[in-house]
């Protein structure tokens, strides 16, 4: 948990960002089609804060992370880090290469995120060299050993190859590599999803500890709501390229307002057999991002959708302090302060039903 509430200027600001991919048609001479993976999202990450982007596959959370760090190109919108422009047209200076490197990334697959031909110490040393830090060989070695120590490895691990490490250990080396250039923001792209539960706990605790010690911010991308609750200060729920709800972690889990968030929470299997039978599954499947539903992106599966929902896309508006929801029907139908889990959603596709 962060020690300070983000009252200062935000570290990272994303404004109306979209990322579009061109997809070749399945027919031989067909037109190329556009896949809008991220559709005009806006959010902020404060200093020393963990902001989680959560959603299922195809929601655009990973693409968001990759666009911010520059692995993909944004087709619309802008983002700034400490007020310096990362991409987009908005005013202000452009971030220099050095400033860009204040954002680093940790990846999901520990088995292919490290070059198998390089020793671990060399990989970290290379990260230093890339960042352009001015230091002698000996100084760089000291820095590498120090960061290895911070993630729990003694100096004897410097000369080992990645294949000599387990998945969890490799992920710690990945964290070391992100840390070594002293970033302000680390984007964690499903960083613990490929790990066993007990190793996952180790890594999450390490991330929390590092944040406590050095005030790093995290943009934590995950599909696992339990993990998100544990690590995030604020959460943005994504569906089909849009943020449909955003709130503090506590508020989101205690008082989810968007029908998708509620369905998502309802679907998570909780490790408590006493809560059986109180969950209802959301019907249908995620529509293809090549052809999203008109109006609200969730309208095709929403249990409380009305005709307005297919006509006009709702905006992400604040319903209370720090809580934004993109839904036409919120405010009039969402009860406050109720437990999402025992609130059963009507399991049908009929529009116009009022929830219980």
């Amino acid at each position: 948990m962060s020690l300070e509430t983000p009252t200062r200027a935000p570290l990272l600001e994303v404004n109306g960002m979209s990322t579009t991919f061109t997809v070749r048609s399945t027919k031989i001479l067909g037109r190329k089609r556009e896949l809008k993976a991220v559709r005009g999202i806006s959010f902020e990450v404060g200093q020393g804060e963990t902001y989680a982007l959560v959603g299922e596959s195809g929601c655009g959370k990973t693409t968001t992370g990759r666009t911010i760090i520059g692995l993909e190109q944004a087709s619309e919108g802008a983002a700034t880090l400490r007020g310096k422009r990362l991409f987009g047209e908005e005013g202000g200076e452009t971030a220099t290469q050095v400033e860009r490197r204040r954002i680093q990334m940790i990846f999901q697959d520990p088995y292919s995120s490290l070059n198998p031909k390089k020793r671990v110490g060399v990989i970290l040393d290379e990260a230093l060299k890339i960042s352009g830090v001015e230091a002698t060989i000996a100084e760089r070695r000291e820095i590498v050993l120090a960061v290895l120590g911070r993630v729990g490895f003694g100096p004897e691990y410097y000369s080992r190859f990645p294949h000599e490490f387990s998945g969890g250990q490799r992920q710690r080396i990945g964290i070391a590599r992100a840390l070594i250039v002293e970033p302000d923001l680390i984007i964690c792209d499903e960083a613990v999803s490929a790990l066993d539960v007990s190793i996952q706990a180790q890594i999450l605790n390490l991330l929390r500890e590092l944040q406590r010690d050095s005030g790093i911010s995290y943009l934590f991308i995950s599909h696992d709501l339990g993990v998100v609750k544990y690590i995030a200060d604020r959460v943005g729920v994504m569906y089909l390229g849009e943020i449909v709800e955003e709130a503090t972690s506590e508020e989101l889990f205690a008082n989810p307002q968007h029908p998708y968030t509620r369905a998502l929470l309802s679907a998570v299997p909780v490790a408590d057999p006493a809560l059986r039978g109180t969950r209802q599954a959301l019907a249908g499947e995620v529509p293809t991002p090549l052809n999203p539903p008109p109006g609200c992106v969730f309208s095709s599966r929403c249990p409380i959708a009305v005709p307005l929902c297919s006509q006009r896309a709702p905006e992400l508006l604040a319903t209370s302090e720090g809580h934004r929801v993109a839904c036409h029907l919120v405010g009039s139908t969402a009860p406050s302060g109720s437990d999402a889990r025992t609130e059963s959603l009507p399991l049908n596709n009929e529009k116009g039903d009022t929830p219980s």
Binding site: Q200, A201, G226, K229, Y230, V268, A271, P273, V286
Partner: protein, 335 residues
């Protein structure tokens, strides 16, 4: 279980020959399942749960694998059958659903064809009759517009749909036992909820016994009647699901529960980390396999491997000190 169990696994031991010597991936595993019972086999990577499933179906390459013990399904020991007989049983009396729906279906045949093939493998009927059965199965597993979807190819279906088709194929012969190896791990959470609900409904309909293998304790809590926890090839706890979560006896189970982040938990609580790492199968410790990482370990634990002890007829645990463990947990629960 008043009647004789549907599946009785007695002392199952599976060994592999590897370059670095022989490893025992499953070591003297015993459990039983009744008709209509869903038993969860849970553990982390390398604990042997998938190998146990593959051993029951005898899917492993027998040039490099040796099986020991008995796997008795409806009176027949599957491990003792000649391969020809075993082939007849696979898909008929015992079926399997695998983890990855993306590669579980043959991309060059339509759904209809694959289902028909599965149905006609165990019944001599015409293609038309099989097709009718296939349609019925697809509707049962909740595929919308099944008549048209049947003619689709796997790549035209989403992951959730493909997994439903796989389940339909597995159930096509109305097997007495269904083994599901991480069936929802590769699926989104909302789709996972749908598939688990489907499996519960089908279990009620067909009274099939189910072995559900997973690493996700939440899935276990929501679906299973009984839970077996595995560690390094052994079962270390065997209990009804309510009991396991309310009062786990084994320190490893407690550790797993403590390490699982939950949407219900208070995020200020630190996740419990189990110290150390799972030892390699090449280097199995003498004595209790978990002792090196266990807060309750005594000298006896290091020297003597504990047996799987039946505590009260329904709850079994493989631990010398479980009474101490229970007592310490009660203290924390009271607090």
């Amino acid at each position: 279980m008043s009647e004789s169990p549907l599946l009785d696994v007695v002392g199952l031991t599976t060994r592999f020959a590897t370059e670095r010597g022989e490893v025992t991936a499953v070591d003297d595993v015993s459990f039983s399942i009744g008709s209509g019972e869903i038993v969860g086999l849970v553990g982390e990577s390398g604990c042997g749960k998938s190998v146990t499933a593959s051993s029951i179906m005898r899917l492993l390459d027998e040039r490099y694998t040796s099986y020991g013990g008995e796997v008795v399904l409806g009176g027949t020991d599957l491990l003792a059958l000649p391969e020809r007989r075993m082939r007849k049983e696979r898909g008929r009396s015992v079926s399997m659903v695998f983890q990855d729906p993306m590669t579980a279906l043959n991309p060059v045949y339509t759904i209809e064809n694959q289902l028909i093939e599965a149905i006609r493998a165990h019944r001599t009927i015409s293609r038309r009759e099989a097709s009718a059965i296939a349609l019925d199965l697809l509707e049962q597993v909740g595929i919308p517009d099944a008549r048209n979807r049947m003619r689709a190819y796997p790549h035209q279906l989403s992951g959730g749909m493909r997994q439903r088709v796989v389940i339909a194929m597995a159930l096509s012969s109305q097997p007495r036992l269904l083994i599901a190896d991480e069936p929802t791990t590769a699926l989104d959470v909302t789709i996972q909820a749908q598939i688990l609900e489907l499996m519960l409904a089908l279990r009620a309909e067909y009274d099939t016994g189910v072995v559900l293998i997973t690493h996700d304790l939440g899935v276990v809590a929501q679906t299973c009647d009984r839970v077996l926890v595995m560690y390094l090839g052994q079962i270390i706890e065997d209990a009804p699901v309510g009991e396991l979560f309310r009062q786990p006896y084994h320190p490893y189970t407690i550790g797993l529960l403590g390490a699982t982040p939950s949407v219900d938990a208070d995020s200020a609580d630190e996740l419990q980390v189990i110290p150390g790492r799972v030892p390699s199968l090449h280097d199995v410790p003498v004595g209790c396999r978990f002792a090196a990482r266990c807060a309750f370990a005594t000298q006896q634990c290091l020297d003597d491997p504990p047996p799987l002890e039946d505590v009260d007829g329904v709850h079994k645990v493989r631990c010398w000190n479980y009474r101490t463990v229970i007592a310490s947990q009660e203290v924390t629960h009271v607090a």
